[in-house]
Symmetry: C2
Subunit: 316 residues, 2 copies
Amino acid sequence: MVAISRAIQTGYGSEIMREQEVLKIIREQVAEAGDDAALLLFRNTYLILTTDMLHRTSDFPEGTTARTIGWRSVAVSLSDLAAMGAQPLGILLAVADPKLDEELIRGILAGARACCDSAGTRLVGGDIDRLDELTLVSTGIGEAKRPVHRYGAQSGDLVCVTGVLGRTQAALSLFATEEIARANDLFCFLPRVDWGIKLAAHATSMIDISDGLAHSLHLLARESRVGCSIEEELLPVIPDLTQAIPSASRSEASHTVASLIEAILFGGEDYELLFTLPESAIPAINPAVHYTVIGRATDGAVLIDGYKLPDRGYEH
Amino acid sequence: MVAISRAIQTGYGSEIMREQEVLKIIREQVAEAGDDAALLLFRNTYLILTTDMLHRTSDFPEGTTARTIGWRSVAVSLSDLAAMGAQPLGILLAVADPKLDEELIRGILAGARACCDSAGTRLVGGDIDRLDELTLVSTGIGEAKRPVHRYGAQSGDLVCVTGVLGRTQAALSLFATEEIARANDLFCFLPRVDWGIKLAAHATSMIDISDGLAHSLHLLARESRVGCSIEEELLPVIPDLTQAIPSASRSEASHTVASLIEAILFGGEDYELLFTLPESAIPAINPAVHYTVIGRATDGAVLIDGYKLPDRGYEH
């Protein structure tokens, strides 16, 4: 939530300044902390609320199926809830389309329902509208007795990431080379709701990496007033992404290797959870949670292999 | 919520069939009753959720200020909560604009906040995005221990409406004649949150009339399995609307008079509350609630002055 889309096709990292300014205006005007979702104290617990807008040109490459569109629209909101350690209570989905095409709408709703099912929640309402471009707005509501914030990381904590990195970048490569079935499969990521809930008891801070790993590390460090030092060789990369880079160029040109790590660090929109926790908490983490330790929180800057990690993000 | 926009400019009543079909698909797929908002049972109370999408060409005539756009975007969701008798807990607002113009965004957020203030609630979060057309999606969350549904009206109940009718139609006329200040003033309607809460203890059914009075009467009658009989002379019409129709033509041509009552019955998008209650409950209604009795629920059809009232609606 509170993120700004621009075309996936334009890549990442360029025109962030203006968007940051608009975000700042929103933060000034809205009763919202710098978290993945908004919190409402309600009867000794917190209601967690998030809303996300996606649309055809920015978020869904040629070849994306209606089911994938519906799935992903819901999954981005569930990922925001997951990043707070929240139990989802329900999802609303507003869909706008120029033609209100029945097959498209059916496909989108089927995908949205399937994604809700995967996270043990339900599509409880929605709105439809006519608009020149297919646009979807999903709203997630969840509950967390002890929500996990972006702030809270302590110097010395381990920095960890769930799952594997580069899933969306791999999907985009596959869409580009028209390997449509696998691309859609990768695009329908499983929101880390269950892992988020399991991690909530132990994590000192958490965020989803939908803005890219580098920018998410900076956000978490800034909110927690720590630095962090991560190691490139520890980053868990999805095999589809390494395969998507032609091996010939990988062996001959260092710039291509650079573009792999660039994609991992600065590309979006992955929906894994980035979190911190004290090393002593490791044994208590439920073994169902797949995660990798990628570094440590420090008193210094945000570093990768000892070098400053630029705060370039992917703004989706 | 669960409504379909089409251009205000196209008037009302024509191409409903296709949209009704799409709505039917949504209802099939989504765990949603035919109410203004979705309900989630949560800790012995109900969370009430609603989402609404508005955009420039359909919902905001030339001359609408940024503040009015923000106000109205929030007000439509608050009206849905009001129609359930819910206490608002918070509002999320997603804004998409081609240019992310700072003045526009500031104006919209100021209007949105002012509308939240008017209903004793807060803007708690949001999302921003780039889209070719200015588009806003507001999500309201509220709470009601005893939500009021569209079903529940009993034959013999009084049929009542809050406030006055024709406010939006009057505003549209004023926008058309470039009386911009008064048009914006009328367009910033006060959502009937306080009245909705006060009515919730007594009303047997309730709905907001954003789809037009006639269609809302039909929806309420259908969900409650009753008929109703209303009287034209009882309908409380906003003076701005009668003034907006040139008095010369009113006195000479019956079709112009017809267009006034047509605007009241079939035009949108008014956000007053239509509700039913037993006559015996009248003395108990808090005198702060402004309302007018316009007819009675019956065992028959939906009638106005004894004639069948067509189920033509305004779908926003």
